[in-house]
């Protein structure tokens, strides 16, 4: 019971922080948090199909995009005074679009399972992606469509703050609905279908109907996420349907941990923030994102959420003292390896860039020193290359030590918690 209360307290504290956040942050960061919340909702709704029902969809960007386009069309209608529709209820258009298309496409896709299901969803999304630029009346061609937010209910939606609270309300409401859904008999059935569909069918359930419905609920909330994006950006174009967008949500969900409820949202928020920060700093940020994903797939198959939930379930608070030292060593190892890789990648990037080529030509083709992290490095000097080399070798040498320490610390911590 106390763990339940603690969870509730944590959630309330988190909600409180989200409520006061826009008063503390710069407009740029408020916008970043809006995007993080939208990505979180997208990942949560995706993982209802993936994590709960085991349906790996490679085309969820279709419903994200349809939600966005439906909302934009409604916004345009409001702008031209064809209908009166309050801005805070605009995401309902996205939800409707997501639900209807999810029912139709889901009915088709859920006839297949596993890889074949993934291929059907991929084909549907690619169809939309290739059709959208030619279907100008609906998707606005290559330029897409854009419109303006209207103020309503005497709330000012011209500012980011108004959009922030609108997004927050919808994301929290949708997340609660998604969570509540997992507690319903239907939500339990989703787990059963994932684990053994044959058996569920033998028990007399209509599994195709159930999967269609679960898929449609997932796409409905994906539509809401797309609608929120449309409201925040006031524009979109056909690239929202791209395989890249579908891929992103898959990456984020698995980094966050597809087996837990809040893991995907956490992963999406972290990766969206990561993308926002690193894309300003380096052009290789997609490489780092790919590396993070592969490392998570190889070594942390349950994702960040899985890691957290293992600690929360197995350990008492008092047992964490056994893990402080091992985790510090792990952190050092991680930073050493990361430093070596980042230094190498950024050096290669600078040395092969056009600006450096111009610099070389100005100096008669000689390999002149380059600037990185505010320091000068010479590309041919052994000192330059010894930095990443030593860093990576030290990290690699300490890696077995860190693993052994962690294993021992973990055994002791679990032992104390069980006693």
């Amino acid at each position: 019971m106390s763990s339940r209360a603690r969870q509730l307290g944590l959630l309330l504290a988190f909600g409180g922080v989200l409520l006061v956040l826009p008063l503390l942050l710069t407009p740029n960061l408020v916008n970043a948090v809006i995007k993080m919340m939208i990505a979180g909702l997208f990942a949560l709704s995706f993982s209802l199909a993936m994590g709960q029902a085991g349906m790996l969809s490679f085309g969820h960007s279709a419903y994200y995009g349809l939600g966005a386009f439906a909302t934009l069309h409604l916004m345009k209608a409001v702008e031209r005074s064809l209908v009166a529709w309050p801005t805070p209820l605009l995401p309902l258009a996205g939800a409707a679009a997501g639900l209807l298309c999810g029912l139709a496409f889901g009915w088709l896709a859920t006839q297949r399972t596993g890889v074949y299901f993934a291929m059907v969803t991929l084909a549907l999304a690619e169809l939309l992606f290739t059709l959208a630029p030619t279907w100008i009346s609906v998707f606005g061609g290559e330029a897409g469509i854009s419109t303006m937010r209207m103020n309503s209910w005497s709330i000012n939606f011209a500012s980011d703050r108004g959009v922030y609270y609108l997004t927050l309300a919808w994301v929290v409401g949708s997340a609660w609905c998604l969570w509540a859904f997992t507690r319903t008999p239907m939500g339990r059935l989703a787990l059963a279908v994932r684990d053994n569909e044959h058996r569920v069918r033998f028990l007399g359930f209509n599994t195709h109907g159930a999967k269609t419905l679960i898929f449609a609920i997932s796409t409905m909330f994906t539509g809401v996420a797309g609608a929120l994006l449309a409201i925040a950006n006031e524009a979109t174009n056909y690239t929202i349907f791209s395989a890249q967008a579908s891929a992103n949500v898959v990456l984020q969900t698995f980094i966050g941990g597809a087996g837990t409820f809040f893991g995907p949202a956490l992963g999406a928020a972290i990766m969206t923030f990561f993308a926002r920060v690193t894309s300003d700093l380096t052009r290789s940020w997609l490489l780092y994102q790919g590396l993070v994903f592969v490392i998570v797939m190889l070594f942390v198959p349950d994702g960040i959420g899985g890691l957290i939930s293992v600690h929360a379930r197995r350990l008492r608070a008092s047992a964490f003292k056994h893990l402080t030292l091992p985790y510090l060593v792990c952190l050092v190892v991680g930073l050493l390896l990361l430093g070596g890789v980042v230094f190498t990648v950024e050096s290669v990037h600078v040395v092969l860039s056009d600006a450096y080529a111009v610099l070389r030509r100005a100096n008669g083709g000689a390999l002149v020193p380059y600037r990185l992290f505010g320091r000068q490095f010479h590309p041919l000097s052994p000192w330059t290359w010894s930095i990443p080399l030593v860093s990576i070798l030290a990290g690699a040498a300490l890696l077995p030590v860190a693993r052994r320490l962690t294993r021992h610390g973990w055994i002791r911590a679990v032992g104390e918690s069980a006693a």
Binding site: Y116, A123, L127, L131, W135, L251, G290, M297, L298, L352
Partner: protein, 313 residues
């Protein structure tokens, strides 16, 4: 008539090229059950290896080294990555290759920049094989077709007529029995994965010299390759060949035709109605050519998921 012959020729060559890439993908899926998302990225890797070696050593060296290097990468990926996550199931393997595709693309962008590179065939291969209605037909297109056909023949003989082929095919059906007979199963799987990757690498080195070699070539090709293996039947080599040719021909014809649904409806007297409705009904085939392969894939998946030649769901 000219349009017909040129379209058929181009379609067949494009189809054969598609086959070179999809052959490896369908083999890997058939043997290991792994849908290798990174396959088209191996193709791109092959093109860039070919480009690098053409500049330093020579075109033919690149053609020989590209499959070896890409195959080596494939072997390492299978040995140190895929085998690790095998116990978590096929979804995990699929996702891992998906992440690898990301990394390969970004590494190539890191070293070669965001724009296409100037990878060209040697000057002595730039001649017209024959002249057709005053259009010169490039010899290199025929060369690509011949390489692809040679690969198909070699693969077919290897799989059906040799001892290695028997072991590989047996490992697909009865892995435990093959292992009990003393064959090293992990090595067989590694070999299949490396072989598939090498094929994609060779295709990249051959095709990259004719088509643009840039960081977008994998994305453009990637989904099309999936279409081919799904339509042909996942795991079937003959299916992949037939589906590649079909899709190659389809693309080369649809680019030049301006048919639309309203023309079709006009045959039953609904033409003017369809033109009034507009929208999807008046879109011309040439503008929606890019969507057609996905429509085909969707229909195959829904009606006959085993594909044209596949024999399992």
């Amino acid at each position: 008539m000219e349009f017909l012959i040129v379209s058929v020729l181009n379609g067949v060559v494009h189809g054969l090229l598609l086959f070179m890439v999809s052959a490896g993908l369908t083999l890997i899926f058939g043997m290991m059950g792994v849908l290798n998302f990174a396959h088209a990225w191996f193709y791109m890797l092959g093109a860039y290896v070919g480009f690098t070696l053409t500049r330093t050593v020579g075109f033919w060296a690149g053609l020989i080294a590209a499959p070896l290097i890409v195959g080596g990468c494939g072997a390492l990926i299978e040995r140190y990555m895929l085998r690790r996550v095998h116990k978590y199931g096929h979804t995990h393997e699929l996702l891992l290759t998906f992440g690898l595709a990301f990394i390969i693309e970004e590494l190539i962008k890191l070293f070669y920049g965001d724009f296409p590179v100037n990878y060209a065939m040697p000057a002595y291969m730039k001649f017209a094989a024959f002249t057709l209605y005053e259009t010169n037909y490039p010899f290199y297109r025929l060369f690509m077709g011949i390489v692809a056909l040679a690969i198909f023949a070699a693969l077919y003989v290897l799989l059906t007529r040799t001892r290695v082929g028997i072991i590989v095919r047996a490992a697909t059906l009865r892995p435990v029995m093959v292992e009990a007979l003393g064959h090293n199963l992990p090595v067989v799987f590694m070999g299949v994965f490396a072989g598939g990757a090498a094929l994609a690498g060779l295709a990249g080195a051959v095709a990259g010299a004719f088509f643009p070699t840039g960081p977008n070539m994998a994305v453009d090709f990637g989904t099309l390759v999936f279409v081919v293996v799904v339509v042909g039947g996942l795991g079937s080599l003959e299916g992949a060949l037939v589906a590649s040719l079909m899709i190659g021909l389809f693309i080369s014809f649809s680019v030049g035709l301006s048919w639309s649904l309203s023309d079709l409806l006009a045959l039953v007297g609904l033409g003017s109605w369809a033109r009034e409705v507009g929208g999807l009904l008046t879109l011309q085939l040439s503008t929606v050519a890019a969507s057609m392969p996905f429509l085909l894939m969707l229909l195959v998946l829904l009606i006959r998921p085993a594909g044209l030649f596949g024999d399992r769901q």
